[in-house]
Symmetry: D2
Subunit: 341 residues, 4 copies
C-alpha cells in the first residue's frame, strides 16, 4: 500500500534525523533557551529577511494557532477566516476553547479577499453586542492547496492595518506554498506583509515542530508565558532547534518543498491528460481530483488516498498529497494507475 | 560543566533513538492510530496490570495534566493539590486557563494526606458559592522527591471515592518513584488505586512523551477530542508509540529509573556523611541539600545545579538531579566535590 | 417620539411593580431560596405542565443562554443554531467565551429544520478533529419573529434524541411566540419537546428576568453552581420570584403576549394594505417591513424604529416591535402614518 | 424572626423605589445608554472627585469582579488577593472560569499589605513557568469588616505602580467602609489611589447594582464589550441609572452607610460590655462575635445570624450585620438579648 493521503506519513528527513542522533547525548538547558534554538531562530530570520522578528518553536499546528490567536486577541475579539480554514474546521474548537470566535467568510477555493475582510469589519462597526474582528487568519498554502499571490497578500495586509486588525499566516505548508509554480511570493514577502506567521516543520521534513515568527513587536510581549500556559513549551526544546537548524541549512526546507510540488504537478498533468476534473486547481502538493466511485475503488487497491467531499451520487473529490518524503517511484506508479483507469 | 540541575538535559535513551531511526521512513497513519501506539498501549496495560485501561500518548506534562483535568471536571469543579504541586506552581496557570481552580492544601514535603482531603471536602459541603472539589491531584514522585506509600495511596483512593472525587496521579517521574528504596508501591498498585495516571517519558528516557492511563472508564469518553482541542494530538503520533514501546520492552523504563535512584542515593550518603542537611529526605532522583552560599559557589564552578529555596542569609536549598542519562563518572566527580567542600 | 424599535423600552407591567412595592421591605433569605421563588417556580411548572422540572431564575438572556449551554456541553462540544440565532450574532461571543463553538446552519427566516440538524450531525460522525454537536439551540419566537409549529418542534426533538443532542429553546419572547395566530404550540408542548427552555420576562412584562426550566434531569445537576459562577445568582433573588409570580398569576404573561401580537397583526394588515413588502411574514410582535428610504425617513420623524438590513440602494428592512407596554393609541398613530406614506 | 445575618434581606431604600415607580412607564433606549445612566455616572464622578473616570453599571458583584479582572489581565496573569477575598472564596471560581488564577496572600483580618504584594511580585520575577501577578484585588470593607486606612491604600497603590500591576478595589460595601469611625479615607482617596473600583448598590440601598468606576484609562478600552460578553449588560439598563441617581442624590448613599455603621457600633459596645470576644474588631456594619454554642442557641430563637467559623468545640464566630434597612428597634432588641445572655 502506497500512502498518498497526507503529508505526515513518515518521520523526518534523513539530514534532520542525522542531526538529532549526533546531538542526542549532549546536555543543554531546557525549554528552548539552548544554542540550537538560538541558531535556528537566527537562520529563520535570515531566510525570511526579518532580522528583528521574535522566533519561537512549538510542537504542533493546533497548538501554535491557538497560542498565537489567544495571545493577540482581547477576550471579546474574534478571528476572521475562510470557512474552510483549519482553525474553523479541524481543530475541535481549540480557538473557541480559548474564548475566541472564528468569524467565517465564504471562500470557494480556501482563500479570502481583502474586500471580504473590509466588509466584515465595516459591518461590525463598534457594536458591543457583536464580536470585534481583531485578526485575520489565512493559511498558506490553504487547505485546498491554493496560494495567495503578492498583490492579494498586500491587499490583505493593508486592509488589516486600516481596520486595526492583525494578519496571521498559518504556514503549516509554507514550504510547499513557496514552491507553487504559479506563485510570486518570496520568503521575505511573507514576513513583510503580515504580523505573525508560522513555518511548518511537521509536514515539511521535521518529526514535528512549527516555528512562530512574530514580526509585529506588539505581539511579542511575554509570548513564552502563552506557550507555557497552553502546554507548548517543550522541556527538551532543543529538539526543535536542532530540527529547524537542519532544515534551514543550505535551504533544505525550500528545496524539499520544491521537489514535492514538482511531483504533484506531474500527477496533476496526468490527471488532466486523463480528463479527470479537479475540485480546485491547486499549484502545490495537495491535489483534489474528482473521481468516479469506480475509479476511486480501483485506485484504492494500491494507494491510500483521502476522502475529501462527495460531489454527487457517483463522484467524490479525493485528496492526493505528495511530500518531502515521496519517492519518485511512488509518483510513477500512481501516474501509471491513473493512465490505466 | 556537568549538569545535574534537572532530569531533561539529554535527548533519549540509545535504545529509544535506535528504534526511531529504524522506523523513520516507514509510512503509517497519523494521530496515534498506528500499530506502534497500539503496541505501546498494550505494553503499558501489561506493565501496570490494568488490562482494561485506555492509554493515550501526549507530548508534554503540562499538556497532559490540563487535558486530564479539563476532561474530568465540570465547569464549577476544582482540583485539590499540594500547594507545591506542579499544576499549582509551574504551569503558568494552565489549569485555571481551562477554567478550573487549584484548591491548595499545605504540605511540608510535597505530599498531602487523606485527612486533609477529607476535611477540605467536608468544608465545601454542597455550597454553590464555592468551588466543588472534583478531583485530587498528587504527583509521584512529588516535586520534592518524596513518594507515597501503599497505605497512604489507598487512603487517598478511598477518601476520593467516598466524596465523589477522582484521584489523578501525575507520574512525570513515575519511573523514579517506583524505584524509591523506602517505597512499597508496585506498578499494579498505581493503576489499582487511582482513576487516571500518567507515565512520564520526558524525564525517564524518552525524547518527550507522557502516557495517560485512564483506569476509570467514566473518564475515557471522547478523550481524544480533548487531546486534539488542547493541542496535544501529535500528527506523527507513532513517534510516541515507538518511544514507549522501546521503554516498556524488557522493563527498560523501570531499570533506568532504578539506576538513577541508586546514583542519587550514593550522593545522598555523601551529603549526609559530609554533614550537609537536606530540606527533605527524598528517596528518589531529586535531592535537596542545604548548602552554605560558599559551598554552593564552590560546587557551581564545575556543576550546574538548580536553586530551590533560600533558607537564611547564607544558606539555600539547591536541587540535585540524577537521571537515566547520568554517567557514573558524573556522580563520582560530584561526590568527590562534596567531600572536598 | 413614539418608540417601536424594541420590546424593552419601558419598565414593568403595573401588576409586577405593585407586587415589588408591596414586598419591598420584607426580609427574606437571599439567592433565590425564598418563598417567592418557590411559588413562581411552582406556577411555571403548572403553566407549562412539567411538574418535575427544575426552575431557576436569572437576570438576563445572554447570561441564561451561556449558563445553560456551558452547563450542558462537554468542552469539545458545540451548539447547532441558525446563523441568525441570538447566541451567534448578538451576544459578543459569550458562548465562545465559555469555550463552545456555535455551529451555524443557514436559515432564511430564523428557523432551522430537523433535516439540517440531522445532516450536520451525520457529517461530524465521531471525528475528534471536529467539534461534536452536543446541543441544538432554537429561539421561539426567532430573531425574525417566526415560530416553529408543533410538528417542526417534534421533529427537532426526535432528531436530537436520535443523535444524542439536547434541544434548548430560548424563550426570550416566548409570551409572544405562544400568541402567534398561525401557531399551534401550547405551553405544555414546549416543555414536552425539549430538554431545557427559558421563559423570558425582560421582554414580556418584567423589569428583568429569565426563568430557566430544565425538563431533562440530566441537565439539572448542580445548576446553581453554574449560575453563581457565571455571575447570575442575584443576591436579592426574590425580586425574580416576585416578578414571575405576578406574571404567572391568572395567566397575565400569556395575556399580555396575546395583546401585543394582536397589535402587531393590526400593523401587519396596514402594511400589506399599503403594499409594503415584508422581509419575512412574522406572526408575532416583531415585524420586518421593507420601506423605501423616503418612507423610512417620513416615519422616523415621529417613530423610533430599528434598522435591520439594507435591501438595495434605496430600500431597507426595519424592525417594528409592539410589546406588553404598547398603548393602542401608539398603534393607531403608526397605522395612520403608514396609510399616509 | 429578625434577620441580621446579611445586608441584603430587604428590597431597596424607599427613595430608590419611589424613583423606579415614577419612571416605570417611560420609554428609554436600552443597555445603559439612557439619560438616567448618564446622570448617575456624572453624580458618581462628582461624589468621588474623578471627573474623567468611565462609569459603568452592572447588576451584581461576582459579575462586576469577573468582568473587571478578565478585562484587565492578559491570559497568563493572575490577581493577588487575601485568601479571604470574595473572589477567592465565594464566587465559585468565577475568576478561574475566565482563565485567571487567584494568587492568595495570607491575611489575618481580611487585609493584605504592600510588602506582601511586593514580595509576591519579586518572587515571580519574569519566570514564564509561573503566573504573572497583573492586578491586586482588595475589598473595602473586607469580608471581615475591616478597612484600609489612607497610608495603607497609598502604599498598595505605589507598590502596584512599581511592579506594573493594577489595583482594584471591590467596593461591594463601600458605603459602610467610608463610614468606619476609625477610618480616614474619603471618597476622593478611593478614586485617587486605585485603577478601578466598584461602588456597591446591592448591599447599600439598591435593589441590585454595582457601579464600576474606571479611573485608569488603560482599563477602559471597549469595556462595554466585556460587560456584554459576560452577561452583564442589562437590557433595561436605566434601572441601574435610576437607582444610583437616587442613591447619589444629597449623599443618600453615604448617609445610609453611616447610619448602619452607627447601629453596628452600638451592638459592638454591647458585646464588649458583655465580655463577648470578637474574632476581629470590625469598625463597619459586619461584626464577628465569638459566642458559646449555648449563647448562639439562645440568640437564634429570635434572630437569624450567620455562622462564620468554628473556634473550638463549644464556641463559634457568628456574623452579625446591620444595613441601610435595619430599624433601630431591631438593634435595641438585639442589644437587649445580648445583655440577657
Amino acid at each position: 500500500m502506497i500512502r498518498l493521503s497526507c503529508d505526515y506519513h513518515e518521520g523526518c528527513h534523513p539530514k534532520v534525523m542525522e542531526r538529532l542522533v549526533a546531538t542526542n547525548m549532549e546536555q543543554t538547558v531546557g525549554y528552548g533557551m539552548d544554542p540550537y534554538c538560538r541558531e535556528a531562530a537566527e537562520a529563520i530570520r535570515t531566510a525570511f529577511d526579518c532580522p528583528d522578528a521574535a522566533v519561537h518553536f512549538l510542537v504542533g499546528g493546533t497548538q501554535a494557532n491557538t497560542t498565537v490567536i489567544a495571545s493577540a486577541l482581547r477576550p471579546y475579539e474574534g478571528v476572521l477566516c475562510a470557512h474552510t480554514g483549519h482553525i474553523n474546521t479541524h481543530e475541535t474548537g481549540a480557538i473557541e476553547s480559548s474564548g475566541h470566535k472564528c468569524l467565517t467568510l465564504p471562500g470557494k477555493d480556501g482563500r479570502i479577499t481583502a474586500s471580504q475582510v473590509s466588509v466584515a469589519s465595516a459591518l461590525q462597526a463598534d457594536d458591543e453586542h457583536t464580536v470585534r474582528p481583531g485578526m485575520v487568519y489565512i493559511s498558506l498554502s490553504t487547505e485546498l492547496g491554493t496560494v495567495y499571490n503578492l498583490s492579494q497578500l498586500m491587499d490583505l495586509h493593508y486592509t488589516c492595518r486600516q481596520h486595526g486588525m492583525y494578519l496571521f499566516i498559518d504556514g503549516a505548508r509554507l514550504g510547499y506554498a513557496l514552491a507553487a509554480p504559479t506563485g510570486d511570493l518570496t520568503p521575505a514577502d511573507i514576513a513583510k506583509y503580515c504580523d505573525v506567521f508560522t513555518v511548518g516543520g511537521t509536514k515539511v521534513g521535521a518529526l514535528f515542530g512549527e516555528a512562530v515568527v512574530i514580526v509585529n513587536p506588539e505581539l511579542s510581549s511575554r509570548f513564552r508565558y502563552m506557550i507555557k500556559q497552553r502546554g507548548g513549551l517543550l522541556a527538551k526544546g532543543r529538539l526543535l532547534g536542532v530540527q529547524f537548524s537542519a532544515l534551514m541549512e543550505d535551504g533544505l526546507y525550500f528545496e524539499i518543498g520544491r521537489k514535492a510540488v514538482e511531483q504533484a504537478m506531474r500527477i496533476r498533468t496526468a490527471l488532466l491528460d486523463k480528463g479527470i476534473p479537479l475540485l480546485v486547481d491547486s499549484p502545490t502538493n495537495q491535489l483534489f481530483p474528482i473521481f468516479s466511485d469506480e475509479q476511486a475503488e480501483a485506485l484504492e487497491e494500491d494507494f491510500d488516498l483521502s476522502f475529501f467531499e462527495r460531489m454527487d451520487e457517483s463522484h467524490a473529490a479525493l485528496r492526493v498529497c505528495t511530500s518531502w518524503a515521496t519517492p519518485d517511484e511512488y509518483v510513477d506508479k500512481f501516474i501509471e494507475a491513473i493512465q490505466n483507469l
